[in-house]
């Protein structure tokens, strides 16, 4: 009797286990297939404009990849300078935002007195919750004015402040909350024993914070960097509002207008048809590949950083 009950209990347990395991598997497959479907669709549409079957509007793949001119009105599509512009703006934004974010996180977790760190975390969370279009309105109303004034000091005249510098400042502000919150989580997760050990060996509090805490938290901090960079690359609405969309490039002067991959995809999207519409999918592929490559580069840097002592 007793063994029989036990057997049926075991059996039931196994069935439930199988059901839930397959449920989770299904959820996993659905989530993973999304990215595959999106990629296949974008790839199909994006690649079609380069194939002979596209007809008279067919775009030369080589000219597309190496071009320095984007004139949709003349059916000239060159994407290389746009890729360069995108990378330059995103990395300059990172250059401003990364140190600020990491130091803010360090301050909040290790240095700030208790009531202050709660306030800081709330502020950072609020910043992350602001929609990008609001940042865009702020940038096209306020930041461009600052940039215009700075440019006048240098003797440049700008397109009403719309410029690469405005994009960089905007992106830096936009990625700070993402990077800071991930860095906070990473720094909080550092084991206190490591710190105590460092302090016991005679290192000062600041030395410990920089040499022990930051290097131990590096994988979380770099996860923040990757997410922040992805946001900087992928931000479309706000960037389009201040980029100015210059048809040729690349742009090196920070006070000159620029054109990024996302602003190219967005400009005139609602009204356009034909090859001009389809080529946006090709730009989408280029954007995804650019993000992929930059993520791989960051992974390599991550391995190098803090590895000196090992």
């Amino acid at each position: 009797m007793n063994t029989q009950w036990s057997q049926s209990y075991q059996k039931r347990k196994k069935i439930i286990d199988v059901i839930f395991r397959s449920l989770f598997k299904l959820a996993g497959i659905v989530a993973a297939s999304m990215i595959i479907f999106i990629f296949i669709f974008i790839f199909q549409k994006g690649i079609s404009v380069f194939l002979p079957s596209y007809g008279p509007d067919q775009v030369n793949f080589w000219e597309f990849m190496t071009g320095f001119l984007w004139r949709s009105d003349q059916k000239i599509y060159g994407v290389l300078f746009i890729v360069i512009n995108t990378i330059v703006t995103a990395f300059l934004a990172m250059l401003i935002a990364f140190p600020i974010s990491v130091l803010t996180a360090l301050f909040i977790v290790k240095i700030a007195p208790k009531p202050l760190d709660k306030i800081f975390i709330t502020v950072i969370e609020l910043l992350a919750a602001i929609p990008s279009v609001v940042y865009g309105v702020f940038a096209s109303g306020i930041i461009v004015g600052w940039v215009d004034n700075v440019a006048q000091l240098f003797g440049y005249s700008t397109f009403g402040g719309r410029s690469m510098l405005a994009v960089v400042i905007l992106l830096a502000i936009m990625v700070i909350p993402t990077m800071t919150s991930l860095s906070i989580v990473a720094i909080k997760a550092v084991k206190p024993e490591l710190e105590l050990g460092s302090l016991a060996l005679g290192a000062s509090k600041t030395q410990t914070n920089f040499k022990v805490v930051l290097t131990s938290a590096k994988s979380g901090i770099f996860a923040g960097l990757i997410l922040g960079l992805a946001r900087a690359f992928g931000e479309a609405t706000a960037v389009s509002m201040v980029a100015g969309n210059k048809p040729m490039g690349p742009t090196w002067n920070p006070f000159d207008i620029t054109r990024t991959l996302t602003s190219t995809m967005l400009s005139g999207l609602k009204e356009t048809t034909g090859v001009d519409y389809d080529i946006r999918f090709s730009v989408g592929i280029v954007l995804m590949i650019t993000i992929l490559i930059s993520n791989l580069v960051i992974h390599r840097i991550k391995k190098k950083v803090g590895a000196e002592g090992q």
Partner: protein, 305 residues
């Protein structure tokens, strides 16, 4: 970490140098040319009317009429073009005369202001509407849109340029169209073509529906090129077939609109070149001067002759 930091500093210096040294310093009053993105009908109209062959690559793109107004007004040496419906004073813009003619509803109507484009329409061929009732309804609507005072008033209020004075009261025209007296709720009227006409057209149709037996209305506007194609051209029997096609330009010679039951122009839209209010040096520009500016030949306002 140290090596990474020094690498970043080196990168910053490099970027700084290339930014400072690579470009020649533009002079202060360099003209800033603003344009619309490549798919804009306003841009197409503007460039084709002034006969601009190649726009300068040193130009900024704006995303819409309002965006253009904002950006030009914020740029002291800027120049751009907007629709005549724009509130110039509120945007701190000065409308510039074209070939000496001040842009206004009156000058567009009498044909002296040349920087204007027509809103054209064409219907399916006679007998090709699927039902006689529908054909009669289309004729009635076009009569209302083109000839009646009421229709013209609505088009004008929605931003189209027409001479309301020339219209006749609908009550007078109505007698020619007995179709509007019966219940037409089974008829679906489809329009398509230019997106620019949509605002004026929808306003007119919506005012017409209760006066003409509550027929149904399906707009599907995708661009001027589709206007002819979907009533008389290659797509006339396809899934996107429409009853009246519109173009925010004149129909081209290869678009044989004579085959349609009716075709014509119901309103005009004017493009106005604007500069910010602070720029008092220009009040009138000719097509040749505009080409000089927009092709990048004239670099500063002093170069514009």
């Amino acid at each position: 970490m140290k090596r990474l930091l020094s690498g970043l500093v080196a990168l910053l210096v490099l970027v700084g140098c290339s930014a400072g040294g690579g470009e020649t310093k533009p002079t202060d009053n360099e003209i800033k040319v603003y344009t619309r993105d490549g798919s804009s009908g306003t841009r197409e109209a503007f460039e084709s009317i002034i006969k601009l062959e190649a726009l300068t690559s040193n130009s900024a793109e704006t995303s819409s009429n309002g965006d253009m107004a904002n950006q030009v007004s914020a740029s002291p040496a800027g120049i751009g073009y907007v629709s005549l419906t724009t509130d110039f004073a509120a945007n701190k813009l000065t409308p510039v005369s074209y070939e000496g003619v001040v842009p206004s509803v009156a000058t567009v109507n009498d044909g002296t202001y040349k920087l204007a484009r027509p809103f054209s329409y064409v219907t399916r061929a006679a007998g090709d509407f699927g039902s006689e009732d529908k054909e009669a309804l289309v004729v009635a609507f076009l009569d209302y849109l083109v000839n009646s005072t009421e229709g013209r008033q609505i088009v004008l209020a929605a931003g189209g340029i027409v001479d309301v004075e020339q219209g006749k009261p609908w009550a007078e025209l109505k007698v020619n169209h007995p179709i509007v007296e019966q219940d037409n709720s089974a008829i679906v009227l489809k329009t398509g073509g230019s997106t620019s006409v949509e605002k004026t057209l929808t306003a007119a149709i919506e005012s017409f529906i209760p006066m003409a037996g509550n027929f149904k209305y399906e707009p599907n506007h995708t661009g001027s090129g589709d206007g002819f194609k979907r009533v008389l051209g290659g797509e006339k029997d396809g899934a996107n077939a429409i009853d009246i096609g519109f173009a925010s330009r004149s129909f081209k010679s290869e678009e044989t609109v004579d085959a349609g039951l009716q075709s014509g122009v119901y309103a005009k839209d004017a493009v106005v070149v604007v500069v910010p209010e602070s720029n008092t040096s220009v009040t009138s520009l000719t097509a040749a001067q505009l080409v000089e500016i927009f092709s990048g030949k004239a670099k500063t306002w002093g170069d514009v002759k």
